[in-house]
């Protein structure tokens, strides 16, 4: 019998592997997958989130996620255990991210260095997002008020420059300058 870890909601065992409405069961790492589609469905969301946290935009996150699966799934033996499959996906993602940075900016801006299989694919489905939020808080917390405010409005809340300027009671030109200075200061905090 297959062991299962239950996600947020309690569910009965998912025998069919078909129903998209059935809440996801998390496999325990010594188990094997029933097929590559299950490998994909079980891991795509976490892998995407993990990569998104490293590139900060959807287009690149989608491309890199696709590259990881296209690279990894073809040679993958389905009989490998869940833990091995995930370790392989994460190792592939590291290499894919590294080559993305080499290709686009020439330096390794972010890495999947410290990410561990247990956290990336662990029980908390949004671990990557929670991490990102904590990191952003740490950066913003070290900044003067006005810097913190403009970065929060622009980056976290997605306000336009104009809206940000209105909210802060400054001109659009000033908002642009302030944003650039704030990011510069934040970069020194984070570095």
């Amino acid at each position: 019998m297959r062991q299962v870890r239950i996600g947020r909601r309690s569910v009965e065992e998912n025998d069919g592997d078909r129903g998209t409405e059935v809440p996801r069961l998390r496999l325990v790492s010594a188990e094997a997958y029933s097929g590559w589609e299950e490998i994909y469905r079980d891991n795509v969301t976490r892998l995407y989130r993990t990569i998104y946290a490293k590139v900060g935009n959807r287009a690149d996150a989608e491309d890199l996620t696709a590259e990881v699966f296209l690279t990894a799934l073809r040679p993958l033996r389905v009989s490998a255990s869940v833990g091995e499959v995930r370790a392989y996906l994460l190792a592939t993602a590291r290499t894919v991210l590294a080559s993305h940075w080499r290709r686009t900016l020439g330096v390794q801006v972010t890495t999947l260095d410290d990410e561990r299989v247990e956290t990336v694919f662990g029980d908390a489905p949004t671990a990557a997002s929670a991490d990102a939020a904590a990191r952003a808080d740490a950066i913003l917390g070290a900044l003067p008020d006005r810097y913190r405010t403009i970065l929060r409005l622009r980056f976290l809340e997605g306000c336009s420059v104009r809206d940000t300027a209105d909210i802060m009671g400054i001109t659009v030109a000033n908002a642009k300058v302030l944003q650039h200075r704030a990011l510069g200061a934040a970069a020194k905090v984070g570095a």
Partner: protein
């Protein structure tokens, strides 16, 4: 002052467009891009992959697999562990995993399952004709189970694994400096296997050495059969 490339990159991130590439010239540039990504990743855009994307990728994968040769659901896990354990001597995760899932040939060729890891499971494999490795020469090799570099210096041969001991990335030979560079985390190894420099707070372990000899006009390394 922020360089134009960084500024454009940041504006693209904020607009959720694909950021345009540019050459990062300084640590300041890299720090600003990294910080912008960190802040953006904490923002509202991160609600997981879209249905459209996950469904589309699933179709692409199905298409890519349907023209792939059928992979036998072959060997037991134990046999895999055996092969990988020997291949990597515990050091090269990348190489081990690579090998593990690399395809039917390597695994299927493993000998009967004895239930133990047998470190003598290996064979001398020619990697380069002797006359093509002069004194002072370096040669990259890949025998399927193990990839590495062999050098001849002062009349002696030495072979090291070509996989970084940190995360398993493939090392690249820098011919000018005769060093092995990891593309992933700015780490450089000497051909002896020792770390020359590394951006990592804890430098990775020394590269494993491989037994190497010269016979039948070839330089050979001792490695698991492929």
């Amino acid at each position: 002052m922020m360089a134009g490339g960084v500024r454009r990159y940041v504006e693209d991130l904020l607009a959720d467009r694909r950021p345009r590439r540019f050459r990062v010239r300084s640590d300041e540039d890299a720090d600003q891009v990294r910080t912008a990504i960190a802040l953006r990743a904490a923002g509202a855009g991160d609600d997981g992959p879209s249905e459209e994307f996950t469904a589309g990728l699933q179709q692409r994968l199905a298409a890519s697999r349907s023209d792939a040769p059928a992979v036998p659901r072959g060997p037991t896990r134990r046999r895999f562990v055996q092969a990988a354990g020997v291949a990597a001597a515990g050091a090269a995760v990348g190489a081990g995993i690579d090998h593990l899932v690399a395809g039917p040939a390597g695994i299927a060729a493993a000998p009967e399952d004895t239930g133990t890891i047998d470190p003598t499971l290996g064979a001398w494999q020619a990697v380069v004709p002797s006359d093509q490795l002069p004194d002072g020469g370096v040669h990259a090799f890949d025998v399927g189970t193990v990839a590495g570099f062999v050098e001849r210096t002062g009349g002696r041969l030495r072979a090291v694994s070509g996989v970084c001991t940190h995360q398993g990335c493939r090392l690249a030979l820098q011919p000018a400096s005769r060093e092995l560079a990891c593309p992933c985390h700015r780490t450089v190894f000497a051909l002896t296997g020792t770390v020359v420099r590394s951006q990592l707070r804890t430098p990775p372990a020394t590269l494993p050495r491989l037994p190497v000899r010269e016979a039948d006009g070839h330089v050979q390394v001792y490695a698991p059969p492929s």
